[in-house]
Amino acid sequence: MEQNNKKTTTHSIGIYLWIWGLLFVFSTFSYLVDWYNFQGLLRWSLIIFFMLLKAGLIMAIFMHLYWERWAIVNVLLWPMTAIGVFIGIMALESEYTFLTRTLFFVIGG
């Protein structure tokens, strides 16, 4: 049992320190996006890029998902598509609300 644990769950300290360092670097980069005051599409794509990189590293290495069997990985990651769909629906919804509000303020009720 102990043997089994050793094989499946402990990794050299190096990989954790590397990921730790990378998370620091990526956080610095996403902070620099604000520091240099990037705007528009560049800002948003950079923010999302570094966010997903950091999230991926935390989940894969710190939370050990990289070493888990596909059964649990799939059960955890597929529901995220529902969140993606929800984001799409609500983005449309907010644009519609913005439109009706603008119309209300310009034309009146």
Binding site: N5, K6, D34, F62, R69, P79, S94, F98
Partner: protein, 235 residues
């Protein structure tokens, strides 16, 4: 509990089919506590997603100017206006505590009791520092800037409600995590996971797997902060 030697099972897509078709436990080699923690974290993901999606909806539909977080959360240090300074420091503190937690899990599985316990304690202190800085941030916004859930001096009125709700809910998670980290640090120092001493609440024996499960929760708190940092503070 009988252990399954997962190294003998098929891996990848084949393993996925094998595990789901086996008419047995699906999550092979995953202790039940870990599976339940993951399922809890999945449901928590949906809660935080709902908050952040609501933020997107409110911000996208607000006709008033949305307050610019870079300025709202900026601090003046030595006469220089630094944007998001406190938030950046909080981010680094939380990542650091996530790193010490990852190492605590590693040393736990290696049965290095002392090292594991000190690292859990370091994680707890990191979490406490984070909560402390958040308390400072809240009091600055409430007492100095006059931000309220129903209004603020910077712009769109919805801003305050979202700020308090999202960072408050995350801060609650951090606080609960800190409490459990201190409890687990004590349990580890005492050697509960080596002697199989029964827990106060659960009256069940435990081992170092419990630290990995606690670690999952703590990394999740860090993970959520990555998204809050991106969508609330940077956007």
């Amino acid at each position: 509990m009988s252990e399954i030697d997962i190294s003998k099972l098929p891996k990848g897509g084949k393993g996925f089919m094998h595990d789901f078709a086996a008419d047995q436990t699906i999550f092979k080699g995953v202790p039940w506590g870990k599976a339940m923690m993951w399922i809890f974290l999945l449901s928590d993901t949906f809660i935080f997603s709902c908050f952040l999606i609501s933020l997107m909806t409110a911000r996208g539909s607000a006709t008033a100017e949305w307050p610019y977080p870079s300025e709202v959360f900026g601090l003046t240090m030595f006469g220089v206006e630094v944007p998001l300074l406190l938030i950046a420091i909080m981010t680094f503190v939380l990542i650091t505590s996530s790193g010490t937690m990852a190492l605590a899990v590693k040393y736990g599985y290696e049965k290095n009791r002392k090292m594991c316990a000190w690292l859990i304690l370091a994680t707890a202190v990191g979490g406490l520092t984070f909560v402390g800085m958040q308390a400072f941030e809240w009091s600055k916004l409430i007492f100095h800037d006059g931000v309220r859930p129903w209004g603020n001096p910077f712009g769109a009125e919805q801003f305050g409600a979202f700020f308090f709700m999202i960072t408050g809910f995350h801060g609650t998670h951090v606080s609960i995590g800190v409490i459990f980290l201190f409890i687990f640090a004590r349990k580890t120092f005492r050697g509960d996971f080596d002697t199989g001493r029964r827990g106060y609440f659960t009256s069940m024996k435990s081992d170092y797997k419990a630290i990995e499960i606690l670690g999952l929760y703590w990394h999740f708190v860090d993970l959520v902060w990555v998204f809050i940092f991106a969508f609330f503070y940077l956007w």
